[in-house]
Symmetry: C2
Subunit: 342 residues, 2 copies
């Protein structure tokens, strides 16, 4: 049923369908270029809770519920949940989805988790392990700043190379092609390319685009090699949150490998904010950046057939406050997901 391709890729013969998706974001994201496309823009950054962490848990839960509502699925019909976030020990997920009582695979791939969750959910559905599975990821600006840098109350200065963690979550319901739930669904996960940890020695946690670009280049290059394709085989190759500086580095690295991305490359971090007017510097970032942009902006274009094939490459920076304070570099990882109109 499945074809392994090259070192790190799979191509599904009868690809799982994305039968529904949902995105919920904060007010800053709602004021951005994609503002009108999200399912909901929440004005209260605490989502009615007392702490930033509880806020992110609530955001994740509400997004999961919204995806179930849109697909008419109950908790019992979703066999597995593949979910993660950026916080230490994945607490936004653990506390957020508890009341759903769906068997959970907890994931950590930093901001690449959206790609990791879609990969594993599509693998499970394609193998017949589940008629239906959900991929779910979130991030929150305030909980992420506190987790990786300083609490907002410190009012730390942000250099121009920084990205702004998106307050947002995306949920995706995948279903096997032959199920009744998949009838009429017009987007599939056609294949995946799984990333390796890549470290170019960047140590500046205010310059994540530079830390992650080598991993994105590695995964995109591996993907094209495994599939025997060129960038022209895609309507878009879209990374998760490299931002404007990371985009430039990615294009340079790809050129060094002999691949010209030309105008085919986009980045969710560039798409989600207007850097000129929103003071977000290099762009958006966070697990929720790729997830919300995928749900609100990318999937609709694939549904209508405006785009036939997209390579989505969520990118993650694998640092913690501890590793940063101990002077370690910031390795990256990126997971590729082939999305097709079908």
């Amino acid at each position: 049923m499945t074809q392994t391709k090259g070192r790190a890729s799979l191509a599904y013969q009868n690809p799982p369908r994305i039968i529904g998706e949902a995105s919920i974001v904060g007010s800053k994201e709602g004021e951005g270029p994609l503002g009108a496309l999200f399912d909901r823009v929440e004005a209260d950054p605490k989502f009615g809770k007392d702490t930033w962490e509880e806020a992110e848990s609530e955001l994740q839960l509400q997004t999961a519920r919204k995806a179930m509502e849109k697909t008419g699925m109950s908790e019992e019909q979703i066999r597995y949940l593949f979910a993660g976030d950026l916080l230490a020990q994945g607490i936004a997920t653990s506390y957020g989805i508890m009341e759903l009582q769906i068997p959970l695979f907890g994931l950590y791939g930093a901001c690449s988790t959206c790609g990791e969750s879609l990969s594993l959910a599509s693998m499970a559905v394609n193998a017949g392990y589940a008629d239906c599975a959900m991929a779910l990821t979130s991030s929150h600006f305030a909980s992420a700043e506190k987790e990786f840098r300083f609490p907002l109350e410190y009012a730390g200065q942000r250099p121009l190379s920084t990205t702004w963690t998106v307050t947002g979550a995306g949920a995706f319901v995948l279903s096997a092609a032959e199920t009744s739930a998949a009838e009429g669904a017009s987007v599939c996960v056609a294949g995946i390319t799984t990333g390796k940890v890549v470290d170019y020695g960047v140590k500046d946690s205010m310059h994540m685009g530079a830390a992650m670009a080598p991993a994105a280049a590695d995964t995109i290059y591996q993907h094209l090699a495994d599939y025997g394709r060129t960038p022209e085989d895609y309507d878009r190759i879209i990374t998760g949150d490299l931002g404007s500086i990371g985009q430039k580095i990615l294009k340079d690295l790809m050129l060094e490998k002999g691949v010209d991305l030309k105008d085919i490359h986009d980045d969710c971090g560039i798409l989600i904010f207007d850097a000129d007017t929103q003071d977000t510097h290099a762009g958006g970032s966070g697990c929720g950046c790729a997830a919300a942009t995928l749900a609100a902006y990318i999937l609709p274009k694939l549904k209508t057939g405006e785009w036939k094939r997209v390579l989505l490459v969520p990118t993650g920076a694998l640092l913690s406050k501890v590793s940063f304070n101990e002077g370690q570099s910031i390795p990256g990882i990126a997971h590729g997901v082939v999305l097709e109109h079908c």
Copy 2:
């Protein structure tokens, strides 16, 4: 090829084999009842590195290499790595396995990660996504104390309900039954039961057995229901790190559900230390506890056929320092893995 069973279980028709395993532990574990069974006991708690986190990374890398050495596998032959640890943002894994350059799925399930990694690795191999995959998990006493409680230098007092985080790692190489690599392998992953997040409201991070026992009970009960089995169908049902108090709670909870575990239950946390002489109080804990005990003690008994069938249920406490300090309860999760002599 695969049979889904009940709400949360899979039973593989031609189960993936465990073709090799390795365990490396620290000196305290080496002095325990299983000391002679580990592949290596390392006397230097820093594993030749400068920090506890780097030490755990090195431990994880060395254990992965040992498993490859024992199976004669190279990095190129292992298609996927499913790995995790307890540290914030999984840094023991990210930094540890970087140089292996194997496509990575980063996982977080607290101390249940050994079960989660074996589950996902067996799912991938069984589906034909990989001839060969590795499941890898680690924990380190000093990095875990610093991560969840206080640095060791604070010399915090440990109440009798605490468990002692195992310094250890376990690596498992899984291969599809029909591959030449699997010839002669006599242990298989026959199936899995995936856990949900379960929260009974325990808030004491020095009493993890109580926090995790409800999740263990939930998964074991679900497993028996999904498979239509009773505890007597197993030679042993072995939890990850409930310790002596958690074991009692588990047995009580199971009795309330009408299931008597009698003498069939064991716990890696009880097996790995001699609580009377080693000052470990309720027992061992950590990702490495279940992983090292599985590699050193459980698999050999399955290989010889002394045990025919074991349900391994690594148990995880889903807390972070942040959630603890914010007064949150400690939810648990447990993932069941059916191991059989074949």
